[in-house]
């Protein structure tokens, strides 16, 4: 049984989540520095997100994960995260997974895979890509 209905949304303003009973998928793209940056977000029912960001080559070269905070009373602001595999952009994936976990109040396990051309390792581009993701989260706060 396939109950998915993927939404390939290339609009820069409207992002429609796919409605399923369980796992939900959202896809959107942004035009950043003359490149089409694709975002695919898989939302699991129990506080778990899998975020893939890449280009039309659709590869997955690294994966990082940040854990939810064990207790809201924890005094530490540090999030526990790790790289699971990969070499290119693994630090940026880990950093972004921690930022998303923090943005969501430490309530979710966040997997992030950032897959960009090797020559795009500059802070400005990464900043815009992150901004695209956080803008999407802000506009769809209710589903996160």
């Amino acid at each position: 049984m396939n109950n998915s209905e993927l939404v390939n949304n290339s609009s820069s303003t409207i992002d429609q989540p796919t409605i399923t009973n369980g796992i939900k998928i959202t896809e959107f793209s942004r035009r950043i520095a003359d490149q089409s940056i694709l975002y695919q977000i898989i939302r699991y029912p129990d506080r778990c997100l899998f975020i893939w960001i890449g280009t039309t080559s659709c590869d997955i070269s690294n994966l990082a994960m940040t854990m939810p905070k064990l207790s809201s009373s924890s005094s530490s602001n540090e999030f526990l995260g790790t790289t699971l595999f990969g070499t290119d952009f693994y630090e940026q994936s880990l950093s972004l997974s921690k930022k998303v976990a923090r943005r969501l109040g430490g309530q979710k396990q966040v997997f992030v895979s950032l897959n960009l051309p090797n020559d795009s390792d500059n802070e400005m581009l990464l900043g815009e890509i992150e901004q695209g993701l956080f803008e999407h989260i802000r506009q769809n706060e209710q589903v996160y």
Binding site: M1, N2, N3, S4, L6, N8, N9, S10, T18, T20, N21, G22, I23, K24, I25, E27, S29, R31, S36, L38, Q40, I42, Y44, P45, D46, R47, C48, F50, W52, G54, T56, S57, C58, D59, I60, S61, L63, M65, L84, F85, Q109, F111
Partner: protein, 121 residues
């Protein structure tokens, strides 16, 4: 704007009285399969087929636990699935299951195999 996303499908069924969710993402260099009865990714392993330098042509599999317990039964499940699907690329396999009994794992594999046909590998 070119927006060719990784082909991804989701499915849901009830197996052994547990709601079971499946997501399959076909990345260019890896196939991501996640099957869960707990609503989260759970354990994660990476399976690849290595080049066999000997001439007996038997395949050699490499299974690496990325997240969760590094248990033999997890390796067997991942490797069996990889062989059954006859994959040409690496398998990133996530699973969170109530039971690893043989009959339960067979149901899980059937569920995956019946849905993977929709993926153009």
């Amino acid at each position: 704007m070119d927006s060719r996303f990784p082909q991804t499908i989701t499915a849901q069924t009830t197996l052994n009285n547990y709601v079971t969710d499946l997501v399959i993402s076909n990345f260019s260099n890896k196939l991501f399969i996640s099957v869960t009865q707990f609503g989260k990714i759970g354990s994660l392993v990476l399976v690849r087929r290595d080049v066999n330098l000997n001439e007996d042509s038997s395949p050699v599999y490499s299974i690496k636990s990325l997240l969760g317990k590094d248990q033999a039964e997890y390796h067997i499940l991942a490797r069996h699935l990889y062989e059954r699907l006859q994959l040409k690329k690496q398998l990133l396999f996530g699973f969170a299951l109530h039971s690893f009994a043989k009959k339960d794992l067979e149901s899980i594999e059937e569920f995956i195999c019946s849905n993977i046909k929709q993926i153009n590998q």
